[in-house]
């Protein structure tokens, strides 16, 4: 499967958890901690489910806390072999 792009990840973030009152996911968020984007643990689990569905890459729950920014999550996904 082709590498996931940052824009694909951004779209997925919007679809998974939406945007809060004070958070704009359209900006330069690659290195913004998920916490500052108001992505809580459930929002990250929802992201992981979508990554698996759309890219065939498993992100185990135990690894989620280590993926602190969107860029870290993207790099993680693209470093994994797709299981599909």
């Amino acid at each position: 499967m082709a590498e996931m792009t940052f824009e694909e990840l951004r779209t997925m973030m919007r679809e998974a958890a939406g945007e809060g009152d004070d958070v704009d996911l359209g900006g330069d968020i690659a290195r913004t901690p998920f916490g500052e984007l108001e992505f809580d643990s459930l929002a990250l689990m929802e992201m992981a489910a979508r990554i698996k569905q759309e890219h065939g890459v498993e992100v185990p729950d135990d690894d989620l806390p280590e993926l602190k920014t969107p860029q870290m999550m993207l790099d993680y996904v693209n470093a994994q072999p797709a299981v599909r």
């Binding site: 919007r14 958890a17 939406g18 945007e19 809060g20 009152d21 459930l42 929002a43 689990m45 929802e46």
Partner: protein, 410 residues
């Protein structure tokens, strides 16, 4: 020392005949019927097709996508009605201590629409496709939880599930927390919606829901043709405050005081002991320190079924005498709102106190013989001084609740 009264300082209303307290009140005085065929889904194959649908309400118009992604429509109604009620009360939650504010709502259904979508994914695509937010989006307590989180209200938070009487009990619990000094401000009330196929089949299974297909014939409480009720969606959120702290923050908007409440539970039908609705009303009046002749209007439960209507008429006639008090049921315009019904009737009662006007019962035409002793406000609103109002709610399975509200000096 007597506890400081709990006053209602803000209202947020969502109903089929009006979104926002003002629009709702105007529509209710005009007798605007808003029952019609369900449009939220294709109801053509169902034996019941009428609902009081709040078509003018769209959660996404008022809430960020972060919240609409993780909430059912019922929760979105609670969140939006709370924002309206807080603005109406002139309350900025960040100026309160977080543990001095709490939330107690009622719910009879939970988040049906959200749950249906996720169940379809579960059985259609597989468990990994189910949204993580289903973990709480369906849950009865979620309206309370989301309101609490959004406004940083970290004090006493709870939910009451008591079918169609639970709304009055929830507001009573808010009052209790204020009078016990457990909170200075409580967000209370309830909103409900079940307008999705999964919610609808529950109504189909309920013999209390009318099978009539014409909107003006379906929900006629106290009428000879009464055949059940029509389910509606919406409800009301009330801001209640300790009267002393309300005055200390500058007073301002106030609708009235939560003066008394009682609830009872009926004995089993086979016991032959009959309904305890009269005791709920008498205990609520006693709790308020009000005699029957001081009550200016009764907002009836108005089940719309001959036996239940007769039982309510009997209880009211026993306590108030024949035609002893004006009785009304504006819910004929928008249906029964389950957990949201009692709170919306309370909001309507408080608006009646403010405007000295009683909104009418619509559609009911020919009074059933055993309901003839009621002074029913029919068709047209009635101008009349309203200082004290009684609200009644009953729920399937034997729940009875009664609440007294009265005016409060500005």
């Amino acid at each position: 020392m007597t506890a400081s009264p709990a006053v209602v300082t803000g209202l947020g209303v969502i109903a089929a005949n009006g979104v926002g307290a003002e629009e709702y009140w105007e529509a209710s005085l005009a007798g605007k019927n808003a029952i019609g065929e369900v449009s939220a889904f294709d109801s053509s194959s169902y034996p019941i097709r009428l609902a009081g649908e709040a078509r003018d309400f769209t959660g996404a118009d008022h809430l960020p996508s972060r919240l609409t992604k993780q909430t059912d429509r019922a929760t979105q109604m609670s969140l939006v009605a709370t924002e309206w009620a807080l603005a109406d009360a002139g309350v900025e939650p960040e100026t309160f201590r977080d543990y001095d504010m709490g939330v107690v709502t009622s719910s009879a259904a939970g988040g049906y629409g959200f749950g249906q979508a996720e169940l379809q994914k579960l059985w259609g695509q597989g468990s990994e496709f189910v949204s993580v937010y289903q973990s709480y989006a369906w849950f009865y307590a979620v309206n309370t939880g989301q309101v609490s989180i959004r406004h940083g209200m970290r004090g006493s938070n709870s939910v009451l599930v008591g079918e169609q009487a639970g709304g009055l009990d929830a507001v009573a619990h808010a009052r209790r927390n204020i009078r016990n000094d457990a909170a200075t401000l409580m967000v209370t009330g309830g909103t409900e919606t079940t307008l999705c196929p999964w919610g609808w089949v529950a109504h189909v299974a309920d013999s209390r829901v009318s099978r009539k297909s014409q909107a003006h014939e379906a929900y006629l409480p106290f009428d000879v043709e009464a055949s059940g009720h029509v389910p509606g969606e919406g409800g009301a959120i009330l801001i209640t405050e300790n009267a002393d702290t309300w005055r200390a923050r500058g007073g301002g908007n106030v609708y009235g005081e939560l003066a008394g409440h009682a609830s009872t539970f009926d004995p089993p039908p086979e016991s032959g002991r009959g309904s305890t609705l009269d005791r709920a009303v008498l205990n609520a009046l006693a709790d308020a320190g009000v005699t029957p002749d001081e009550v200016d209007v009764v907002f009836a439960d108005a089940a719309g079924l001959p036996e239940l209507d007769a039982a309510e008429a009997r209880a009211l006639t026993k306590i108030f005498g024949p035609s002893g008090v004006p009785v009304t049921a504006p819910k004929t315009m928008f249906g029964r709102l389950y957990g949201g019904g009692g709170p919306l009737d309370l909001a309507t009662a408080l608006l009646s106190i403010r405007h000295d006007t009683i909104p009418p019962t619509t559609n009911t035409q020919v009074r059933a013989a055993d309901c003839a002793s009621l002074d029913l406000v029919l068709g047209e609103p009635r101008r009349s001084e309203v200082r004290t109002a009684l609200v009644i709610a009953r729920g399937y399975g034997g729940f009875n609740a009664a609440t007294v509200v009265r005016d409060h000096p500005h």
